[in-house]
């Protein structure tokens, strides 16, 4: 579903992403772990076209991401309809209710009628457990509720891929369970998902595939069992040792 080949991005002379390559199968849930500043979030943003890159290829489904100048916005818009992104700080639109947040993109981008988009928004918010808070503004929602509204907002465009940037960082541990439940349910429905996180427990519990990313490189790929029980790379062992201690 996602194919990334030798993806490279420079910040000046520094390689923010250094020949990153991996594949994600349909309906698979991939977790990217690694220390801060290792390029995890940059990778995610490249998959969504929010960040351009210098070399390599990115394919989402049958869609080739092309961020060269002159490609125009229409290509990016099509890509973004395929890929939903849940931000670390959610970035809900504060001037709109939860329902209006979810309705906006289908209405504006797809030209969906108001009644239809409203019904869609209610369904999705119900699905993430916010069926009772349709008319609440973001500031009236708790952190966990805001995140779930953001997930519903991304789902409204019916993407085939969902990306999550540090989804547990703003949640207390009691709420992580609810997040995991939603992500599992999406996986069951066939959604391809990719999560960037510090949270090793989340990776162990949820991942079909784990990528370890350090210094802009994917240094190791495997199942959670392989990575956590028998890491091959010394740098992986060092990283896990620091975080699991």
């Amino acid at each position: 579903m996602i194919t990334v080949e030798r993806l490279t991005k420079y910040y000046g002379k520094i390689r923010g992403l250094d020949e990153v390559s991996f594949r994600v199968a349909p309906a698979q849930l991939t977790v990217v772990i690694g220390p801060s500043g290792g390029g995890k979030s940059t990778l995610l943003r490249c998959l969504n076209g929010l960040e351009d890159f210098d070399e390599g290829r990115v394919r989402i489904g049958s869609f080739e991401v092309d961020v060269r100048p002159g490609q125009g916005q229409s290509g990016l818009t099509r890509l973004r309809e395929e890929v939903g992104l849940v931000f670390q700080s959610f970035n809900l639109f504060p001037h709109l209710t939860a329902q209006a947040n979810v309705q906006l993109a289908p209405r504006v981008v797809k030209g969906m009628a108001a009644a239809e988009s409203a019904a869609l928004a209610r369904d999705l918010l119900d699905k993430v457990g916010l069926g009772e808070r349709l008319d609440a503004y973001p500031h009236q929602l708790s952190g966990g509720q805001q995140q779930r509204a953001a997930i519903a907002r991304a789902l409204a465009m019916a993407p085939r891929v969902m990306l999550y940037d540090e989804p547990t960082s703003a949640l207390d541990s009691a709420l992580v369970g609810e997040l995991i439940r939603i992500m599992r349910q999406l996986a069951d429905d066939g959604m391809t998902q990719m999560v960037v996180t510090h949270d090793l427990a989340l990776a162990r519990e949820l991942a079909d595939q784990v990528l370890v990313m350090i210094d802009g490189q994917v240094i190791e790929t495997g199942t959670p069992a392989e990575i956590f029980a028998a890491p091959r790379e010394a740098r992986t062992r060092e990283f896990l040792g620091r975080y699991l201690a």
């Binding site: 969504n48 973004r80 670390q88 970035n91 639109f93 906006l104 981008v109 991304a154 960082s169 703003a170």
Partner: protein
């Protein structure tokens, strides 16, 4: 002439502080045999004007008249500059002893001051465009737009005739220019003014003979009978020895009316003007009287002034908010040359005086074929000026929206334009409600400046009332109160909108 007839604040302050200076001033001047006379050097030809050769010198037939009169009386003439529509208050306050600047002798002026015997007589001259076939008299003017000078006898004649649209100008040049380009159908002004400003203009012609009859007199305080006798004797002497006629002939304004006037005066039918002057009316004493008097101002202000001020302000601000938003967006997101032009717009309109912008729009644009009505020019002038300020408000508001909002919108597949339209701008607009309200109140008050392009709004009505009743304080307080009351509902509305559309936690909690 009569440019910028707004009443400066210091004038009111002086009125309050200098109540006693009047007698002191008069006593100080007389013993030195100085003849202090007030006029407005902006008045224009042929009365009083700066010498084109050396602008600090004042010339005009009235300068020659006063020099000759002073010589006649063995005194020294001293010119005191005073705005034309404040000539009578200045005289009564004792800033000078004589008011000499084309003051028509009228019944209501005689209530306040004494007049010398008339020194000049003429009629009002109607001017029209060269190609105008029909208009020749006052009755022909029915249904037409006619220009004249503010507070002049001609204005009163037109008002009495009625059934026409009258535009009162500060400046005779502007009136004749507007006639030439078709904004006016006719202009009625004192004959000497027409001689100097209408006849040399090839686009214009005189329509018919002068209309009506008016006499200019020298204004004096009613409590100065000795000076009045002295001045009258001097004037008669100059009529007799031909000196006055020589001055008028030099300036090209000798006419039949004045010849008749001299004849009557010298035949001894000397009506002492002092008899006509009454003592100053005592100012209202009781609070009830004062309130009644203030109440008199309310009706014209509410009928004429307030609706026009509201109309200009609301239309002007709507234009400013619309244009300002476009300028802000182009500045922030436009391609390079357009963004540069947007910034240039802001700097130019913010960095030059509104007054000059209004003059350029109203009197300048006709040169390139754009003729705007006074209302359109007022709204466009205020709107374009305030658009520069609103653009900066919006720019600040847009920049204050966290970048994550734009990214979130883009990640959902919205185009940049859609993101601005549905996510960024709606939040920015809510954010800038307080500064925009502030500017609206400022625009409200700045709207008073459009009286310079013949708009009759609240400040203009105030000026007319103040000049009619010589009550700058009372009328000023009523007008100021009306501005305050007009602004308050908008402030309340803005407060409500601020609460209603408040965005709490525009920044989401970041980990």
């Amino acid at each position: 002439m009569r440019r910028l007839r707004t009443i400066p604040g210091w004038f009111i302050l002086l009125l309050l502080l200098a109540g006693d200076c009047r007698r002191a001033g008069a006593q100080e001047l007389s013993p030195r045999r100085d003849l202090a006379w007030g006029g407005d050097a902006e008045g224009g030809a042929p009365y009083l004007l700066p010498d084109p050769e050396s602008p600090r010198r004042i010339i005009g037939f009235e300068v020659d008249l006063m020099e000759a009169l002073a010589r006649q009386l063995g005194r020294r003439q001293v010119f005191v500059q005073n705005q034309w529509d404040g000539l009578i208050p200045g005289l009564l306050r004792g800033n000078y002893d004589l008011a000499v600047n084309g003051l028509e002798i009228t019944a209501d002026r005689r209530q306040r001051i004494a007049f010398s015997i008339p020194y000049y007589a003429c009629g009002e001259q109607l001017s029209v465009r060269q190609d105008e076939p029909g208009l020749r008299s006052l009755t022909d003017l029915r249904g037409h737009t006619v220009g004249t000078l503010k507070f002049s006898l001609a204005q009163r004649m037109l008002e009495e005739q009625g059934a026409m649209e009258i535009r009162a100008y500060e400046n005779q040049n502007n009136a004749y220019d507007d006639l030439a380009i078709g904004r006016l159908d006719a202009v009625l002004m004192d004959w000497p003014i027409a001689i100097y400003y209408s006849r040399p203009n090839p686009a214009l012609k005189f329509a018919g003979e002068p209309i009506g009859y008016l006499e200019y007199g020298i204004g004096l305080r009613p409590d100065d009978p000795a000076l009045l006798r002295e001045v009258n004797d001097g004037l008669r002497q100059m009529m007799r020895n031909g000196e006055l006629r020589r001055i008028y002939e030099q300036w090209g304004i000798w006419n039949e009316e004045t010849a008749q006037l001299f004849k009557r005066q010298l035949e001894g039918a000397s009506t002492e003007s002092l008899a006509g002057a009454r003592p100053l009316p005592t100012p209202p004493v009781s609070w009830r009287d004062r309130l009644t008097r203030l109440g008199r101002y309310l009706s014209p202000m509410l009928r004429q002034g307030v609706p026009m001020t509201l109309l200009i302000s609301i239309l002007g601000m709507s234009l400013a908010m619309g244009v300002g938003l476009v300028i802000a967006l182009v500045n922030l997101y436009g391609r390079r040359p357009f963004a540069f032009l947007a910034r240039l717009y802001v700097e130019v309109f913010r960095g030059t005086p509104l007054l000059i912008q209004l003059y350029l729009i109203f009197y300048g644009l006709p040169n390139v074929g754009i003729r705007l009505s006074p209302l359109a020019a007022a709204v466009i002038g205020l709107g374009l000026n305030y658009a520069a300020y609103e653009a900066e408000n919006y720019r600040a508001g847009i920049l204050a929206i966290p970048h994550g909002q734009l990214e979130a919108a883009l990640s959902l597949g919205l185009t940049r334009y859609q993101a601005l339209r549905h996510v960024i701008v709606p939040q920015a607009l809510r954010l800038v409600i307080p500064p925009v309200t502030n500017d609206f109140i400022a625009l409200f008050k700045d709207s008073s400046i459009v009286s310079v392009i013949t708009m009759v709004e609240l400040t203009k009505v105030y000026g007319q009332l103040a000049a009619t009743y010589y009550d700058y304080i009372g009328a000023g307080l009523v007008a100021a109160l009306l501005y305050l009351l007009m602004g308050l509902p908008f402030v309340r509305l803005a407060r409500w909108a601020e609460r209603r559309y408040r965005i709490v936690g525009a920044r989401n909690p970041a980990a």
